[in-house]
């Protein structure tokens, strides 16, 4: 059967918001567990943190920064759309949210390496 064509800008913003939220939620328990190491075992936390020197890990961290930023900017756009008495230029705002997130994650990557 035919596939549904729906790749327009706001749909892309929707799927980006959903997937970034999903991935962040999956990452969260892991993030908490690593930080909890600090309680009894600072050495193991350090061992863990040195992993961050591996380029793949650096890139994944950058991806996480991007996910967090894009989810926040995108979410703020949605709340503005829903609650503020204004509804124009949504595509521009969605694009700006993505651009802002790219900028912040790039900044992170530049400082990380």
């Amino acid at each position: 059967m035919s596939r549904v064509a729906r790749a327009h800008p706001l749909w892309l913003a929707y799927i980006l918001h959903r997937l970034s939220g999903l991935l962040l939620a999956l990452f969260l328990p892991f993030h908490f567990l690593v930080l909890s190491l600090a309680l009894h075992n600072a050495a193991r936390l350090d061992a863990f943190l040195t992993l961050a020197e591996i380029p793949v890990i650096k890139l994944s961290e950058t991806a996480l920064v991007f996910l967090l930023a894009v989810h926040m900017f995108g979410g703020l756009r949605l709340m503005a759309l829903e609650w503020l008495p204004w509804s124009g230029a949504q595509k521009t705002w969605a694009a700006s949210a993505a651009a802002g997130a790219v900028f912040l994650s790039f900044l992170f990557l530049m400082r990380a390496i």
Partner: protein
């Protein structure tokens, strides 16, 4: 007229009960031809059992909507030239509604939800009272007027992924109608409307993906109408009244 040129049309046949399959037809190409013309040509010249629905053929009745190359469209006002890809078109029944047979879907769920969203008039005066004047320039009237050209074609309903993922979701057209009535100065029970759209599958299930607005053939904007309902329910929550 000679028709050396033909287009290849794939049509989805059958129903969920009988099983569905795609069937290919060769249809002569004309200079000016709508997708509905193509479907009608097949029914009149190749297979009289092909089932589909239409009435006005001028974009007013909202009965001819189908999926054309995966996009929900009003077929009577969609020119073949606009959708043709490599001399082919792919036609299927509207998404998100049960298929009765071939290209005809059961519209009942769509209209049932229309009723469930409380998008009906709640009279403020009796039938014998004089008709009050409505200022067409008033801000609320402009908001209400923005949604009244809806032809109930269900294209937005077919385009919406939230409808596809959540069987309870009332969908863009029904919610847009609720917002229209909510902004009507003559409506006497705005609270009932907000109650109806705040329940299971109400306006708060919408993810603002805007497929409804992107595909509405009449250029209506259910996305913003639903945002209006969210705003109104939020304002009521913070004590701003209905």
């Amino acid at each position: 007229m000679s028709h050396r040129e033909t287009i290849t049309v794939t049509v989805q046949r059958g129903s969920a009960a009988t099983g569905q399959h795609m069937q290919e037809f060769q249809v002569p190409a004309y200079e000016s031809q709508t997708v509905l013309d193509v479907v009608s040509w097949i029914q009149q010249n190749t297979d009289p059992t092909l089932t589909y629905r239409f009435a006005c053929r001028v974009g007013m009745c909202g009965s001819c909507a189908m999926m054309v190359n995966g996009v929900p469209r009003w077929t009577c006002r969609t020119h073949v030239k606009k959708v043709l890809k490599d001399q082919r078109i792919d036609i299927a029944p509207l998404r998100n509604l049960p298929v009765l047979k071939d290209l005809a879907v059961d519209m009942d769920p769509f209209f049932d939800k229309w009723v469930a969203a409380e998008g009906r008039h709640h009279p403020s005066i009796g039938r014998d009272a004089p008709i009050p004047a409505i200022n067409p320039e008033a801000a609320a009237r402009q908001v209400a007027s923005a949604g009244i050209e809806c032809i109930n074609c269900s294209i937005c309903y077919a385009a919406c992924d939230t409808v596809a993922n959540d069987p309870d979701y009332l969908g863009p057209a029904a919610l847009q109608r609720a917002w229209t009535v909510y902004n009507d100065a003559k409506d006497a029970d705005r609270g009932a409307i907000l109650d109806a759209v705040s329940g299971k599958g109400g306006c708060h299930s919408c993810h603002s993906m805007g497929s409804c607005t992107a595909y509405c053939p009449n250029g209506l904007d259910p996305l913003s109408a639903i945002a209006g309902l969210k705003r109104a329910t939020t304002r009521r929550f913070f004590g701003g009244g209905a």
